[in-house]
Subunit: 437 residues, 2 copies
């Protein structure tokens, strides 16, 4: 690399574009304290990659810099065969803690928690508490804002902020200063539910407790910001019909990118093949009235678009906790009305278009009105159907225990394409039999 002398900010900006060797060179060129800051800004994934590129001696140094939960994240991001190796670089107590954290699933509260928090007893005086906190290294971490009060069984009894302690007179008991209404979360709570709890109570830190109410660690809001972004990315990618990437877009190697997209694309293709079968059933009708074929893309795509809108809205509202499983009936009723209204609007536009073309270009022959009627009625049916399928599918998936976001827009569109064709040709048979058909 010709120009090595990046500032830390410049290095951070070009980081995604650099090869592993260039990253190593750039990082080693940084001053020690700039390197420190830089290392802490990297994502767990980039940290793992950098660590594995470093010589073993230096690797230990940097890994030990990390708090247990960050070390656990890094180890989780490393390839499976490197994990034991990395674990062995930690000292005994850190290793035990990291192993404990690795036992939790990545997407539950326990997997996000860390042990950088301080505990007090309710029967200490405020002065005793402050002098204890001054000696407690964990209280110095910059992410510690509250102190948790526990009983002799480690059960959570109350919470006090540093400020609560400063403004109280020194001879008061911690038990009299603390607030006893503490919002806590069980260690197996899903991270999406946890983030909703944080948002609802505007918290910066939340204690995580086990089934017996014993405090196991805390989760900080900055990890929650990451969770919210990550969950939104996952949902969006699923909604777009792609398997979740897990890596920044430009860093996904092409073969993996192709695999992530090919799965859904091939599945949708197989489903969409049914359209050829469905249309095959109506081959004689099409041969007799080729004009019917012209409107096929228009009609089925309208159903697909309406379905894609409905599924997007429902999936996002579910993720935000705005609708729950038991709301399914209200949602469907709404989508029936919406679907009918939208279908009527498109039908009116479609009708106008066909009549206009007929007047201007005599495009559709003597039966133009029946053709226009067929298209209009089919549009109402298909758009309504798309809306219903798009809104109900996430409920069905969730009810069956799947992720509702798997009801991706392309999936709904494919489903609606096949049924849309049947609707269209059935309407055509009813309206046009005896004339065109």
């Amino acid at each position: 690399m010709a120009e090595k002398n990046f500032t830390p900010a410049e290095l951070y900006d070009v980081w995604p574009l650099l090869s592993p060797e260039e990253r190593l060179e750039g990082f080693e060129f940084l001053q020690r304290d700039a390197a420190d800051d830089f290392f802490l800004q990297l994502s767990a994934r980039d940290r793992a990659l950098l660590l594995l590129a470093l010589p073993v001696g230096v690797r230990r140094l940097w890994l030990r810099q990390l708090a247990p939960d960050d070390a656990a994240d890094v180890i989780q991001e490393a390839p499976a065969e490197e994990r034991d190796n990395l674990l062995s670089l930690l000292d005994d107590s850190a290793r035990r803690e990291v192993k404990g954290l690795l036992d939790y699933a990545e997407d539950e509260a326990g997997g996000l928690m860390n042990t950088r928090y301080s505990r007090l007893r309710a029967d200490m005086t405020v002065d005793e508490a402050i002098s204890y906190l001054r000696r407690d290294a964990r209280a110095r971490e910059k992410t510690v804002y509250y102190v948790y009060v526990v009983d002799s069984e480690e059960r959570l009894r109350g919470v006090a902020s540093f400020r609560d302690l400063i403004v109280a007179s020194g001879d008061k008991l911690v038990g009299d200063v603390m607030r006893t209404e503490v919002i806590s979360a069980p260690d197996d709570l899903d991270q999406e539910a946890l983030s909703r709890l944080f948002m609802r109570h505007h918290l910066l830190m939340m204690p995580i407790v086990d089934a017996e109410g014993r405090i196991k660690g805390v989760v900080n809001v900055d990890d929650i910001v990451d969770v919210v972004q990550e969950e939104a990315t996952e949902d969006m990618q699923k909604l777009g019909g792609v398997a979740t990437l897990d890596e920044p877009y430009l860093e996904v190697p092409l073969p993996r990118m192709i695999r992530k997209r090919a799965g859904w694309l091939a599945a949708l293709f197989l489903g969409e093949m049914l359209t050829a079968t469905a249309m095959g059933q109506f081959e004689t009708e099409i041969a007799r009235a080729v004009v019917l074929a012209l409107f096929v893309p228009l009609i089925i795509s309208s159903g697909g678009n309406s379905g894609s809108q409905a599924t997007t809205l429902v999936i996002r509202a579910m993720a935000l906790g705005e609708i729950r499983l038991r709301d399914w009936w209200r949602v469907i009723r709404r989508d029936v009305v919406t679907g009918l209204a939208l279908g009527a609007i498109l039908a009116a536009i479609g009708l106008t278009r066909i009549l206009l073309w007929q007047v201007l270009f005599d495009a559709y022959g003597e039966h133009y009105f029946l053709i226009a009627l067929t298209v209009a009625l089919s549009l109402v049916g298909v758009v309504l159907w798309g809306s219903i399928v798009g809104s109900i599918l996430p409920f069905i998936l969730r009810g069956l225990g799947f992720d509702p976001a798997s009801a991706s827009a392309p999936f709904v569109a494919t489903l609606v394409d096949v049924t849309g064709l049947v609707i269209y040709f059935t309407v055509a048979a009813l309206v046009l039999s005896g004339t065109l058909l």
Copy 2:
């Protein structure tokens, strides 16, 4: 309402389902301090609705409870004709502050900031600073974790945490205890960029400065969590082809919901009408070889699905700051390779399917191989084209100053549908001329 005695948590859960009158009744039934907590949990929108339902005297009481930035949010959510009214309920100094905040756009740093922070001078001793902070009401707010050190022109000079002050000896100067590298943001920074800055530096609070480096207020991380959710929701809804809702799903009145969906749906429908025109150009070909029509939905939807994948991935990566405008060429190169590979995969499946049906059912007559070839070649072209359009469109929109998320999946699909038909029938003309055509 028969059963009035909701606990605050129960009331919060059923809130979205209640009518304005029921909300008022439920709220008035709460104990005073439960009502306090409850009020602070509500979203700005629900708070505004509740306030407007309260009698004027009580309304003033609750509005004055809010910090200036929260009051500004509530006023922003109220109907335009109520805003002056609400402003007049505030005392003079709060009103000035709220008006100042209302001048900022809702989605820039200034619009998110609040004035709950404390200022110190560098030449105070730590003891002086602590006794000053004990008297400063703003330092008692539970969201205050850092104290900012400013010079006589209000320019930001440093930052200290409460803990920094406690652990330092009392006769030291604040200037010696503070950290001088403060990460701050300009007041006109877009909220999406601001949230990336928070995430990168794992901050809980960030000072917002004007062009002269004077501190204007602070933004807290809990507001950033809201921003991240809100931006993700907006992007997802746009991606699904719906105008942004701004309200929880179930609370959007049906007529508004229909409007929000009808706009895009009608626009897409008008675009999709070009498919009828495009197919009209090939009417003679279709009449001669009806079999061609059978594969139309299959082929164009494959292009649409591939385009919807590409646009979803690129839009999300842009929102996360993973790719920037100048990366367009890298992205296209990647999508050409990906598109070709995916097209080849689908072509292979399509080819197999047609050959299989031919062997099993003699479905396509003597020219079955040429038909299979037409479908396979078209698939490669259409899937490649979908991938390119889907990935380039967000760049074009951003380059023109529009929101890249407007390149919604249905929009890309519509664009690809029309061009996909042209690709398909052109390939068909080339391959089949002299035989079927």
